[in-house]
């Protein structure tokens, strides 16, 4: 994974989060389901890795969404 690729993914997830309406937890759920539905396996893994290693560039909603995504993927 390159820095460029990661920064692109961070930008994308933050943008998805910024486009959700409603309270933060509903918004985060929507982001999670969006990631589940549209992101490739490798992209999901990369953003989860980023949350684990740093995560500082993620917006609050995006951070919650990626954490949810991680839980969901560990469960399945």
């Amino acid at each position: 994974m390159s820095d460029q690729q990661l920064s692109q993914l961070v930008k994308m997830v933050n943008q998805i989060a910024a486009n959700q309406h409603g309270d933060p937890s509903t918004a985060a759920q929507r982001v999670t389901s969006h990631l589940q539905k549209f992101w490739a396996r490798s992209m999901k893994a990369q953003i989860i890795d980023y949350l684990d290693s740093d995560g500082s560039q993620l917006s609050p909603v995006a951070r919650e969404a990626v954490a949810d995504l991680k839980r969901l993927r560990q469960a399945s």
Binding site: Q5, M12, Q15, N19, H21, F38, A40, S42
Partner: protein
């Protein structure tokens, strides 16, 4: 009683000219013609009634695509109880009328009329290009003209000069009979009003523009006049050169998403001319300059005629046999997967290829490559349409037929330029505007539709690029707060809770036109007027294009459009609807066919177990349950080193995708790039395997147009390199060890029908029978579905989605004070690979930068100057055109020529939901310069080198036995 408008009983024969257009009255009138009793709708002409009864009345100035004119008098008839010999074209039928079309008096009258015509007409029939295809000649024969008593010495027009200025047709006024069919075709069919009759009486002549050569006039070269001309006055140069065609095949145009039907008129395997097919349900016999005339690329010397391979892009191409090329490609793909993993390769399907070919490429990726890394060029144009319409209305498609516009009272066009990008539909819209419909255009530019001659009320909302969602929210705010909603529709057809949340949101004062005026730049009063007109004047229909989708909030905007249509009840019947105008011929089809990484054909998600199992049982393989990479993700992964091989069929990502330098970096990172195309396009210059593609003339298949209409593409000539595109994909699959054994595209369609719930009723046999089918076509809708969502939505109730306006990060600032928006023009198509190789380039030889006079003035810029255009990602140089079509602060260019580098400037900013690039908003600076940009210098150097590699390859014959 006979009803001629029940197609199951009386199909109109598209090959017959019924003389005058149909009338749609429900009231029937019974009359007798030559002893035959016939019932026709009130308002029908006697000429048409006779034709419907199978009786042919001679005619010259009449044609069933033009209103009757009554000038030639050849169609005169006798009517019992009426005096004289009325022209049957201008005489409407009446109850109990008794018409005689042939008797001695009428024969003499017609012979006299023809004698006068022929007295001022050259008698060079044997050497005339229209010989054998001339209505004047036919009529002279039909009336039995045997002599011209007036002689030929008198004053005449025989020395009139030919105007050959148009590259595609010539105008020879010496052969003109002043029937004015061309003038009326230009007005009624095309809507341009470029032609007129100059002078009166004997001096009358056809004039283009202000009596100029055709090329200098406002003529758009649609060819409607050429088709209408009953003589050889207006004649295709190809017919003048090659003679009259001897057979014809009905097929579908491969340019824009209108999907016009054409007769490919042939001599052997040579295409002489394309004539729009009257039986075509999308175009009803009309066409544009691209479809009718710009087909010469198919036989252009630049066509790739043999497969080629090379180990690296610094080497000349090596022509090889198909077997060797396919074997080489398969080996490289397998090696890549062995080294970098299953997910390290992918494919891109084409929105220009057929449904069957697209289906096969995504099947190859999913079943043969074993991953879901498939995407299509729709990613960069209409992917937000898929997302937005599926979320709100439940289906990723436009809701109407094109003909539906004829019942619209207010037409709202957002971010689309139909007269340039969808010209035939643009003409139909103009027809409706001339009938009095109101036009509202939301666009940063003043598009030509706003200049419709004889149009009705027109409103332009010149919003700032990037503020679409603010605009649609303010329109919806007016609808909701002024009580213009269709409450009954909302209650019965839409989800209550989602509607309540949306209504609360949209009613907030921050969504009012007054609050958003500063954002959109559109005065609030205009927004209110537009909203009232759309919501309350009869049928409101929305048409939109890439100016909606290609934004950071493209998907939000599509949902906003659907919300507005639902809130006003403008869905589920004719005259209304939400209509995405698709850019390329098969954008709709490529999306339907499962090109997107998360969806199998028919928009069925890969994570759905039931769906996957159905596909797995037919495809005999195991499918990945996770979405694959989208095109921009592929590029990022390529640069990161995890994505190493790509199979691209018929898309030029190196020219059409944004941030060219990023794309180039991605392509050069690949170990194996397989390009299948008809030319050495920009992408192919980075390829290791070049597989010759076939044009639409060289293969069988289907295209699906913007109205979900599946049309047949029929082969009229052999593929130049011996294989149709689907055969190449099949060979590659077999070489990879995934067996495919189709012998004809119809078998592929049968498999599509088996696996796609909206296609279960589609087959080639049914297409032959019906001409075309609009999906869904299944047990519920056996003949297809012209209008969607009539009773309910595929998701049950319509879903109002909250559309919060989030301004794009791509904003103008001190360093980049202008906003660049990109688009298309009429004569060129997309990346221009086809149209640049035709005479269409005479209209648009280069891409220019349009800049407002005030922006030009402060920069000391004059028309024709070289302008350096810089954004945060790149720099290019274009020639200046001063234009006030945009507002100050906005500049515009097209992307039809690769050397222009329009996409060197566009950025990686994209739609939040689909990654559709934000082509329509790039912050730029513009300054006067004296030389090409560094990128352009590199481009030209690289281009020369790669062309050289192709020529070196062509000189070296393929070694025998390989």
């Amino acid at each position: 009683m006979i009803n001629y408008f029940d197609p199951s009983q009386h199909r109109i024969d598209p090959d017959r000219d019924y003389g005058t257009p149909p009338r749609l009255s429900e009231k029937a009138v019974v009359l007798t013609i030559d002893g035959i009793e016939i019932s026709v709708p009130e308002g029908t002409s006697v000429l048409r009634a006779a034709a419907l009864a199978g009786i042919t009345i001679p005619k010259l100035c009449a044609s069933d695509n033009l209103e009757a004119f009554g000038s030639c008098r050849l169609c005169a008839v006798q009517i019992e109880g009426r005096r004289g010999y009325p022209a049957s074209c201008t005489t409407p039928v009446a109850e109990g009328m008794d018409v005689t079309t042939q008797n001695g008096k009428l024969a003499r009258l017609r012979r006299n009329v023809m004698e006068l015509y022929i007295s001022d007409h050259p008698l060079d029939c044997l050497t005339c290009p229209a010989n054998g295809d001339c209505e004047l000649q036919d009529m002279a024969g039909a009336v039995g003209l045997r002599e011209v008593r007036y002689g030929f010495e008198g004053e005449n027009h025989l020395d009139a000069e030919i105007d050959a200025s148009n590259p595609y047709f010539s105008f020879d006024p010496s052969k003109c009979i002043v029937c004015s069919r061309c003038v009326r075709a230009c007005e009624e069919v095309q809507g341009t009003f470029a032609l007129t009759i100059d002078g009166r009486g004997f001096d009358s002549k056809i004039a283009a523009g202000q009596n100029e050569p055709f090329m200098d006039s406002e003529c758009v070269s649609c060819g409607a006049c050429v088709q209408a001309c009953p003589t050889s006055t207006l004649m295709e140069k190809s017919v003048i050169d090659q003679g009259v065609p001897e057979h014809s095949v009905v097929t579908t145009c491969a340019y824009c998403g209108v999907g016009c039907s054409f007769e490919a008129q042939m001599k052997g395997d040579q295409l002489v001319r394309m004539v729009p097919y009257k039986g075509g349900d999308a175009n009803h016999g009309h066409s544009c300059v691209k479809g009718r005339f710009a087909f010469g690329y198919a036989t252009h010397q630049d066509r790739i005629t043999e497969p080629m391979i090379r180990d690296s892009i610094d080497q000349p191409w090596r022509p090889v046999s198909w077997d060797e090329a396919i074997g080489f490609a398969a080996r490289r793909l397998k090696e890549t997967q062995a080294r970098y993993g299953r997910e390290s390769i992918g494919g891109i399907t084409s929105s220009r290829c057929t449904n069957e070919e697209t289906y096969l490429v995504q099947k190859l990726v999913r079943a043969g490559f074993g991953n879901n890394n498939t995407d299509t060029c729709a990613r960069v144009c209409h992917s937000p349409t898929g997302y937005g319409l599926k979320t709100t209305l439940g289906e990723s498609a436009g809701t109407q037929t094109f003909d539906s516009v004829m019942k619209a009272d207010t037409i709202l066009v957002i971010g689309a330029n139909p007269t340039d990008a969808h010209p035939v539909f643009g003409s139909q819209m103009r027809r409706r505007l001339r009938e009095g419909a109101t036009l509202i255009v939301a666009d940063p530019r003043r598009i030509d539709l706003l200049k419709t001659p004889h149009g009705g009320r027109m409103l332009h909302l010149p919003l700032k690029p990037g503020t679409n969602v603010a605009l649609i929210n303010s329109l919806a705010h007016v609808v909701v707060t002024e009580g213009l909603e269709d409450k009954a529709f909302i209650e019965t057809r839409c989800e209550t809770e989602a509607y309540r949340i949306w209504r609360d949101f949209i009613s907030e004062a921050r969504n009012s036109p007054e609050a958003l005026e500063a954002e959109t730049g559109v005065p609030a009063a205009q927004i209110r007027e537009a909203a009232r007109s759309y919501a309350s004047v009869g049928n409101g229909a929305i048409y939109y294009g890439l100016g909606v989708t290609e934004h950071s909030q493209g998907s939000t905007m599509v949902m906003g459009i659907a919300n507005l249509a639902m809130a006003t009840g403008n869905l589920g019947r004719e005259g209304v609807g939400v209509n995405p105008l698709r850019g390329q011929n098969n954008v709709q089809g490529s999306c339907d066919m499962g090109s997107f990484p998360h969806e199998l054909p028919g928009y069925q998600h890969v994570a759905d177990l039931d769906v996957r199992q159905r596909f797995e049982s037919v495809w005999q393989t195991t499918l990945d349950d996770e979405p694959g990479l989208r095109i921009p993700n592929m590029f990022d992964a390529a640069i990161a080193g995890t994505f190493k091989a790509l199979y691209v069929q018929g898309e030029d990502i190196a020219q059409s995708d944004p941030n060219t330098q990023h794309v180039q970096a991605a392509l050069t990172s690949l170990d194996c790039l397989i390009v299948q195309d008809i030319f050495l396009n920009e992408t192919a210059k980075y390829a290791h395997v070049l597989l010759p593609g076939s044009t639409f003339l060289e293969k069988n298949g289907t295209f699906t147009n913007a109205e979900r209409r599946i049309n047949r593409v029929r082969k009229v000539m052999a593929p130049v390199a011996g294989k149709e595109d689907w055969e190449v994909t099949q060979d590659l699959a077999n070489a990879l060890g995934y067996p495919m054994n189709y012998s004809h595209p119809s078998e592929i369609m049968d498999e599509i029908a088996l696996l796609t719930p909206t296609f279960t009723g589609v087959s080639y046999a049914k297409l032959e029978e019906q001409g075309s089918i609009q999906w869904p076509c299944n047990a519920e809708h056996p003949d297809g579905t012209p209008t969607m969502h009539e009773l309910d939505f595929p998701i049950g109730k319509g879903h109002f989605a909250v559309t919060e306006y989030v301004p794009t990060e791509e904003r103008s600032n001190r360093r980049f004070p202008l906003l660049l928006t990109t688009g298309r023009i009429l004569s060129q198509y997309n990346v221009g690979a086809q149209t640049r190789r035709t005479d269409n380039s005479q209209w648009h030889e280069e891409d220019v930068l349009e800049i407002h006079p005030s922006d030009a003035e402060v920069r000391g810029i004059a028309e024709g100057d070289w302008l350096g255009v810089s954004s945060r990602v790149g720099h290019t140089v274009l020639r200046c055109r001063i234009s006030d079509r945009m507002q100050p602060g906005v500049v515009y260019t097209t992307f039809h020529h690769p050397g222009s580098g329009a996409n060197v400037i566009t950025t990686d900013s994209s739609d939040w939901a689909t990654n559709c690039p934000e082509y329509k908003v790039t912050a730029v600076q513009v300054e006067k310069v004296s030389q090409p940009s560094e990128w352009q210098k590199r481009f030209h150097h690289f281009d020369r080198r790669q062309r050289g590699y192709l020529e070196q390859g062509a000189e070296e014959p393929a070694p025998a036995g390989q």
